[in-house]
Symmetry: C2
Subunit: 138 residues, 2 copies
Amino acid sequence: MLNNSHYIDKLRSSGLRPTKQRIKICEILFNTEKTFHFTINDLVKKISKATNDKISLATVYNTVHAFKKKGYLKEIPINSDQSYFDTNTSHHHHFYDESQKDLIDIDDADVEPVKINTRIPGKKIKSVEVLVKVEDAE
Amino acid sequence: MLNNSHYIDKLRSSGLRPTKQRIKICEILFNTEKTFHFTINDLVKKISKATNDKISLATVYNTVHAFKKKGYLKEIPINSDQSYFDTNTSHHHHFYDESQKDLIDIDDADVEPVKINTRIPGKKIKSVEVLVKVEDAE
DNA sequence: TTCTACATTATAATAGTTCTAAACTGTTGA
DNA sequence: TCAACAGTTTAGAACTATTATAATGTAGAA
Ligand SMILES: [Mn+2]
Ligand SMILES: [Mn+2]
Ligand SMILES: [Zn+2]
Ligand SMILES: [Zn+2]
């Protein structure tokens, strides 16, 4: 617990009380430069490694949903049996290694604008996301 | 039950016994020109409308998995709480209307080749799929 | 300090999916 | 032709991720 004032401010300014559970989860999710792609189970494991006082599963779910709602996390539909979340909330794309179940960011700047030559009448485009599945090169 | 010999051959030639349950499911899934995007629940409802003799839920799951394994269906990761399947097994893309939970095909030819200016060492690209989220134009 | 709305928690409930094991059926080949 | 067998169907149980419930705890305001 070093420099948590940043998280405390962030939480408070978004109308979330800075409880010790939420601060701990912030530390785990956001204390790194790198994007973190995770399932709830991944996060639970990280928490139990990082702290002695446990956080209940319900709170982990509650917190992840609250953070998603506030825009601090994105949900990535990669797998139909578990939700994946992403600390990178900017518009970006992914490599996905199915054998390792590993998601890797592709910066939006690294994908040339995708041209789609068809439209749906009465609908407008909200986002265009590219998923690149990869496998081991032999 | 008109022209099922086609399905019977198809099933038999892929090593699946042409049972009446599988033939019925073939009729529902493949008797149309149009792509069919569905959840297991959608399919169960279609079956119960189309026939009097019911097919057990376990058989619906078994059959969909068998067809996927044989390459007659693709699974589409759009939603993290239910699996979506697609009768269009060619390489293609999708529009997705989140409010209606409606998936619409985009032909591969309608998307200009996607250029990705980054790679993962030791991995090669298996597929590139584009998901276009849409919303009502005001 | 007291009050209250918000938050955490253990646990129950739910829902989609998979497993189990018994009954059934398509196919083979004697 | 038909017994034998492997593959298939089935009801229901089990499993797993997620959400709901409702009691207890706590942050922040007054
Ligand atoms: Mn994981
Ligand atoms: Mn549906
Ligand atoms: Zn990402
Ligand atoms: Zn499709």
